[in-house]
Symmetry: C2
Subunit: 262 residues, 2 copies
């Protein structure tokens, strides 16, 4: 990551667990003229540290996508303590983004490259009438979904596969091979909750999976179809990309920090 | 309520149970140049019925205040069936307001005047770090609240009293006497949930009660103070008015329609 501007002081690497409601952000990545999570955090960090700080996240989230446990890293010569840093950020950040925790990370920490795995959640509001209070965090599907069929169908995706059928073409990747460790589909009242944990994700992968499993949930496709889509290795075979607001990055795992260690 | 424009057809009175996220509305009441719930509903009703419809609600809600079961009435000569009306409204309304149910009401129905009682909920997010996903529906109070003390203190308000200590002066009322049937304070994880049911409410009454009980929850005031505030009959004695976003109108009761009958 970028070096801070005062190399006369010892440099430390901070890692922060960050939560945000993505609705009113233009995604994670800094963009001139747009309100982004990275832009909001870097602006406040500059005020706190009086350095020009460049942050890195475990991965970008698109406009409208949320995070409950995004991990953000940066390097600074500021001598601030982790708790003071967290408090100062939360005092100055807008209230749709909060720093849940800050830690000193290993010197060579890189949130994207060091990640061992990430877990995403996709939530569908499956009530006959969409809940106004869930419209920012759910995909509303009126017709009843069979979550058991979705769960069974989704198991075809668990394991190491070429997931190009579930990747939006742009940007192209060197490889589309990823390993899904876990894929669950649960109903909680009117909500259908899909969770996917993998060593890495392709662009729009969870939203493509959610849109594909919804086809099975509707009964428009049979359970074995999902495995056939995977084997076809062609995006046109899969279901539509589900809308962004249902998606949230839950957690990121590192050798030295992750959900297992809490 | 206002008569529809086609008196040649029989006129019926409809009652609807309406849910809205009040964040992006300038309150219930129609106001030129502002986005209001009444304005949104009347605009869609005019398109559906081709009549100029005037609605009445059980009561106004302020900007930022929500409703889970607001009751809205109107008169029309439209022959539409209640289910078709609900579906047509939900198809055309913005997704932060939904019609949960529509019924034919008694001919002389008036949502404000006929109400036997209403129930409001006020929610406090009492986590050390405010949840970005709850900022639109909760009042964030960082310091730990003693919800047991709030519950006990609040019982002084149950019964028939002059509640002018809990009324924002404007608009003045003929009488400030109301009857609170039930006042509960419960903790659910990091949330502290206050519910108040009464035969009627003064302006800002629930928000004044929430702000007052929070003083007790903080330990800044002792439990008997709430009764003393009530007896003082002076607004200056009570706590601050809690912010609007924590407040939601839960339900309204009528002789022929209410939560008890469901």
């Amino acid at each position: 990551m970028t070096e801070p501007s005062r190399p006369d002081r010892p440099i430390r690497c901070f890692a922060m667990k960050v939560c945000y409601d993505g609705t009113d952000f233009h995604g994670w990545q800094r963009q001139v003229g747009y309100r982004t999570v990275q832009g909001a955090i870097e602006e406040v960090l500059a005020r706190i540290t009086r350095e020009e700080i460049v942050t890195e996240a475990s991965g970008r989230t698109d406009a409208g996508v949320h995070a409950l446990g995004q991990v953000v890293g940066f390097r600074t010569s500021s001598r601030m303590d982790t708790n003071d840093l967290r408090r100062a950020l939360n005092a100055l950040l807008p209230d749709d983004v909060r720093v849940l925790e800050a830690r000193i990370a290993p010197d060579d920490f890189h949130p994207t490259l060091d990640s061992l795995g990430k877990r995403y959640r996709y939530v569908i509001d499956n009530a006959p009438i969409g809940d106004p209070f869930r419209r920012r965090t759910c995909w509303h599907i009126r017709g009843p979904l069979d979550e058991g069929a979705m769960r069974r169908a989704g198991q075809a995706l668990v394991g190491t596969h070429d997931f190009r059928s579930f990747e939006t073409d742009w940007p192209n990747r060197k490889t589309s091979i990823r390993t899904i460790f876990d894929l669950t589909v649960e109903r909680s009242g009117t909500l259908v909750i899909i969770e996917v944990e993998a060593d890495g994700f392709l662009y729009n992968m969870v939203r493509c999976i959610a849109g594909t499993l919804a086809q099975v949930g509707h009964g428009r496709r049979l359970e074995p179809w999902v495995g056939a889509v995977l084997r076809a290795q062609a995006r046109v075979e899969a279901g539509p990309t589900a809308p962004p607001q249902g998606l949230a990055l839950l957690s990121v795992r590192y050798p030295w920090w992750g959900p297992e260690m809490e």
